[in-house]
């Protein structure tokens, strides 16, 4: 059900922009209004989400640990898996963000004949996820050539490495291939593995279909049905410099690509994809495990009004004596 729903949404988006540009000639709307609204939604949404999370109280240290805690000087502590310093915690977050270290250690439990429970390393999700994220990042980065004039040397440098392989005189970007392969894998994984399919929702499929749509339209545009890229760059630079202009004759394929990107970006802060910001705020990863070295006082502790026994006896001594209750001090 979720698959059909998500696919329907993405196809509807494609249909909307195709009809809008081809039939209703809404080039200005899809070329200027939509991207500005998207930009505001994306930035505003991200800042709102992060600030909202930032206000959540983190009273205690709750890092997950996977190694020896720092204790006596002759016991070797685990710098990354049980970080006791801010540097260690930062390194752990960095390894998580850049290399998906936790996912690398993913295991799969299986009940075999016997009955015997076995665990084995399951690397495919890590590999697919890593390839997808890095390819997507490099592709986004390469798109800077449309948003900068003159194009900085480091953008062209990366593009040169990425386009190392040539087919028919033209560069075939490695990341383009890897992106499509990885997203397809991530989608098939949800569709084929029964347990994963069972827990998959429209919110899981929609980003995948959007990404697939963006990837396919981009690849079609680059390798099969070209559009006038000089006009595309003019549009992009016009948006960036706040002097929007919509050049004539950009193909509809570009508008499909662009609109799907806008849809993804506007959806980003309100979807699971906001883990881009959330991963930095994971308390199980970003806190140093120094609970034994440093006393962490609950930050919202307020002075509690107490009534000690001494004060109590002071107050009720006469009554206690009359009732025959023993008291610690006589008068």
């Amino acid at each position: 059900m979720g698959v059909i729903f998500s696919l329907g949404i993405v196809l509807a988006l494609v249909l909307v922009v195709t009809v809008g540009v081809e039939v209703l000639k809404l080039d200005f709307f899809f070329g200027v209004v939509v991207p500005y609204v998207t930009l505001a939604t994306f930035l505003g949404g991200m800042v709102y989400r992060i600030m909202h999370w930032g206000r959540s109280p983190v009273p205690f240290r709750i890092p997950t640990t996977g190694g020896q805690q720092k204790s006596l000087p002759w016991i070797k502590p685990s710098f990354l898996d049980n970080p006791s310093t801010a540097l260690g915690a930062a390194a752990r977050v960095a390894s998580e963000v850049l290399l998906f270290r936790s996912l690398l250690r993913n295991t799969k439990a299986e009940l075999r004949e016997g009955p015997r429970l076995t665990y084995h390393w399951e690397k495919w999700l890590w590999l697919g996820g890593l390839l997808f994220h890095w390819s997507f990042f490099i592709i986004l980065f390469r798109h800077l050539r449309y948003f900068t004039e003159p194009v900085p040397g480091w953008v062209s440098f990366l593009e040169g490495i990425d386009g190392f392989f040539r087919v028919s005189l033209r560069a075939v970007y490695i990341t383009d291939v890897l992106f499509l392969v990885a997203v397809t894998y991530l989608l098939l994984r949800r569709l084929i593995i029964p347990q994963v399919r069972y827990i998959s929702l429209p919110a899981d499929y929609t980003p995948l279909f959007l990404l697939l749509g963006i990837g396919i339209s981009g690849v079609l545009m680059r390798y099969f049905w070209s559009v006038d890229v000089a006009a595309v760059k003019e549009l992009a630079l016009g948006l960036i410099t706040f002097r929007p202009r919509v050049p004539e004759g950009i193909g509809v394929l570009f508008y499909i690509h662009f609109f799907l990107v806008c849809a993804l970006a506007a959806y980003f802060p309100f979807s699971k994809m906001v883990h881009m910001a959330g991963i930095f705020l994971s308390p199980t990863r970003n806190l140093p495990n120094n609970s034994r070295a440093v006393r962490h006082i609950n930050p919202w502790n307020y002075p509690v009004k107490v009534h000690t026994y001494e004060e109590y006896e002071e107050e009720f001594r006469e009554k206690m004596k009359m009732a025959g209750i023993p008291v610690e001090k006589e008068g």
Binding site: P152, A230, I240, T241
Partner: protein, 132 residues
């Protein structure tokens, strides 16, 4: 709320906005118009009907694909004559057909290629026209 930690969040948000907005402040205040390919060459000025091998819209988007097709047909199939969609015949040659009209490589080719930072391999084998 742990106030001391909130500063890290603000630093992170600030860094994110700074990096994300890179194209905005990098290009601030610069003109954005794409260069128009210059058609002012002696050969083109002499033409009565100023038309390329294929319509301009097609050529703008697909010239690299057409050149690649020409290369394959000349080098691999040994064909030399290209029949355009309008039925005209052209010799498939970058130097003798394309550059015969577009003898101004620096204005016609390079301006757009530089604008988009595209570095086609054409000139690693072909010679640019030195003008007549």
């Amino acid at each position: 709320m742990r106030v001391p930690d909130f500063k890290y969040i603000l630093i992170g948000v600030g860094a994110f906005i700074f990096l994300f907005s890179f194209p905005f402040w990098y290009n601030a205040g610069r003109a954005a118009t794409a260069p128009a390919p210059d058609l002012n060459t002696p050969t083109i000025n002499e033409l009565e009907i100023k038309e390329c091998v294929e319509p301009t819209d097609f050529m703008r988007a697909n010239h690299m694909r057409l050149l690649n097709e020409w290369r394959d047909r000349v080098v691999r199939q040994g064909e030399r004559v290209y029949v355009s969609t309008s039925g005209k015949e052209y010799i498939m040659s970058l130097q003798n057909t394309c550059l015969a009209c577009h003898s101004n490589k620096a204005q016609f080719c390079d301006e757009c290629h530089n604008y988009l930072r595209v570095t086609p391999d054409c000139w690693s084998c072909h010679l640019e026209s030195k003008g007549k």
